[in-house]
């Protein structure tokens, strides 16, 4: 049976098409102003990548900020549940999941069966979110995906006095004006991000294994900084793109709903 998962986030929209527990195709796009339009485009893209027709999808679950505005889904499920499910599929031993999305960050704890037992999220603030990194990358004049590679080359990371996006910008501009090497500023940015996240994760309480999902999971600098701050090794995600965890989880939940659940 073919199922779908569609995750309309604040910055990116993701869709996954699955059959019998295997990913047939997926797609990731920049979110548009209207969640419905993002969902249509990304799901069409995922279907094309999978080589299936939209009508062949028997059950589809929507998630993300725009989940209630996706016309074609059979059910909307919170991104906490979807990220938990998607992360568990990618790392079967995961008990704690760190997810950093475009405008929020979450820490989720699962029990042995993969059920969400507790979660914490950031409050109304861009600090510790993908938006923070996006703003900082723009200030440095580098691509978001370059920030991680840049920071691992740092020898002497700067310290940002504040994790607040607005105040951190002022710090970064000062460092740029002082001629501090870009890699040291990038490392300082990633450390600030990791520090904010570590507070959240410690608040939840860590249970091994720990993995990280969301777009920021592809930033090596943030991963290394979080590992250092939490004093543990994050389980690497290789089975699929960690940014697709929400859409993957949504597709897996869709599979559960059609009684063909795959752990």
């Amino acid at each position: 049976m073919i199922v779908g998962g569609c995750d309309v986030g604040s910055l990116t929209s993701k869709a996954v098409v699955m059959k019998d527990g295997k990913v047939l195709g997926s797609m990731l796009i920049k979110s548009k102003a209207r969640p419905g339009e993002s969902a249509e485009e990304v799901m069409n893209g995922a279907c094309a990548a999978a080589g299936v027709e939209r009508r062949e999808i028997m059950f589809c679950v929507g998630t993300g900020y725009g989940r209630d505005r996706i016309g074609f889904v059979n059910e909307a499920v919170s991104e906490i549940a979807c990220h938990g499910r998607g992360a568990r599929w990618m790392v079967p031993t995961a008990r704690t999941i760190i997810d950093i999305g475009g405008q929020d960050c979450k820490a989720i704890r699962l029990d042995a069966e993969g059920t969400v037992t507790k979660f914490v999220t950031n409050d109304k603030c861009a600090s510790g979110t993908g938006r923070f990194l996006e703003v900082m990358a723009r200030l440095l004049g580098v691509g978001l995906d370059e920030l991680g590679e840049l920071s691992v080359r740092s020898k002497n990371p700067v310290t940002l006095a504040n994790a607040c996006t607005v105040w951190a910008q002022a710090d970064v501009i000062q460092f740029l004006n002082d001629g501090v090497p870009l890699e040291d500023i990038a490392a300082g940015i990633n450390n600030a991000m990791a520090g904010r996240m570590a507070v959240l994760v410690n608040n939840l309480g860590i249970e091994n294994d720990v993995c990280m999902t969301g777009g920021v999971a592809k930033n090596r600098g943030v991963l290394a900084a979080i590992e250092k701050m939490l004093g543990l090794r994050l389980r690497a995600i290789r089975r699929h793109d960690p940014q697709l965890a929400g859409a993957l989880g949504a597709a897996l939940i869709a599979m559960d709903k059609t009684a063909g659940g795959v752990k």
Binding site: S78, I80, A81, T115, T117, F119, D123, K124
Partner: protein, 384 residues
Amino acid sequence: MNGRLIEAAETLNNEFVRQWKEDGGRVVGYTCSYAPDEVFHAAGILPYRIRGYGAQETTIGDTYFGPFICSLPKCMLQLAGGGAFDFLDGVVIVPGCDSMRRLDDCWRKAGEDMAGVVPPFFFHFAVPHKFADYTVNWFEGEIRRLIEAVERHFDVRITVEALRVAIAAYNRGRVLLEELERMRRLPEPPIAGAEALSVVIAGSAMPRDAYNDLLEECILDLRAKTRCLQGRRRLMLVGSASDDTALVRFLEGDRALVVADNLCFGARFHNDRVDDGVLDPVRALAERYLRRSDCPRMYGDYRRRLEILTDAIQSASVEGVILQNIRFCDLHGAENGLFERDLEARGIPCMRIEREYGPLVETGRLKMRLDAFLERIDGKRRTA
């Protein structure tokens, strides 16, 4: 549901206040549930709980308070500065917390800059942070100081007999509110949490005798109701001052019900009675208000408050507790962390949220958490 109670809760200068003023009556506002309404009732003055309800911005509040402080007193000052409380003949500031204490300074300062913002009677009514025999003595003295000030300023006499009448009226209201609470906790409640909160708030914004009559009518209507609310997830709302029925309505949606609360404007406000058998009614007021206005502002009271919550959770069959605090509310912010730790250890799902007092915004983020929390409750139901 009685529309007049809803209107009284959702309109600051409501029909009862307007009528009271038209009849030549005087109104005194107060800022915290530790102020004894009975004193004003006995003086023939309408006691009115000052809220920040309806404030759309905090430009005035920000000017006097600065940014890093609870938004509730800022919204109160905002409304006062904009003339929303011009009907008040007096204000009693109760320093329930440090932010509220600062409201006294800020409101007085705003009065220097804006004519008419400070009413002729402006009184600082202190409340101890501990319950003990010597603090009750001290608080009794503070109530007597308030009585003297009201008598002097408004040229009235507050007699022992009038205080007894007031205590009887407010105790009757408390009995009725407890019945409302009991009905909320039924397996199939006849009233949603948002409506119940409106009913409770109305009592702080209209004459008590009229309120008691409407409340009694409301309870009779609820008893006669045949279509009750079924199958929803049962929540308890705890934490900082919240009089925002829109927030409760949002939390309830069509899938949940707030069947119990522990809020300054909610059940906490009307707990217990004033002992009407005590010879000295002022002493009885001091005992009740200091002992039973459950609030984390009181030192060494956490264990008792935890048991109050646990009892409510059991009697209302609560499936999840939402612990909310206004940003920069240290009292509830710290206590909510302890509640979360201890209630989760007892197997009760909890969710903490930090919010601003004022217009309900940023609902997207809140909805995501709420949906996940309800999913967690559903998961617990499935495995029960």
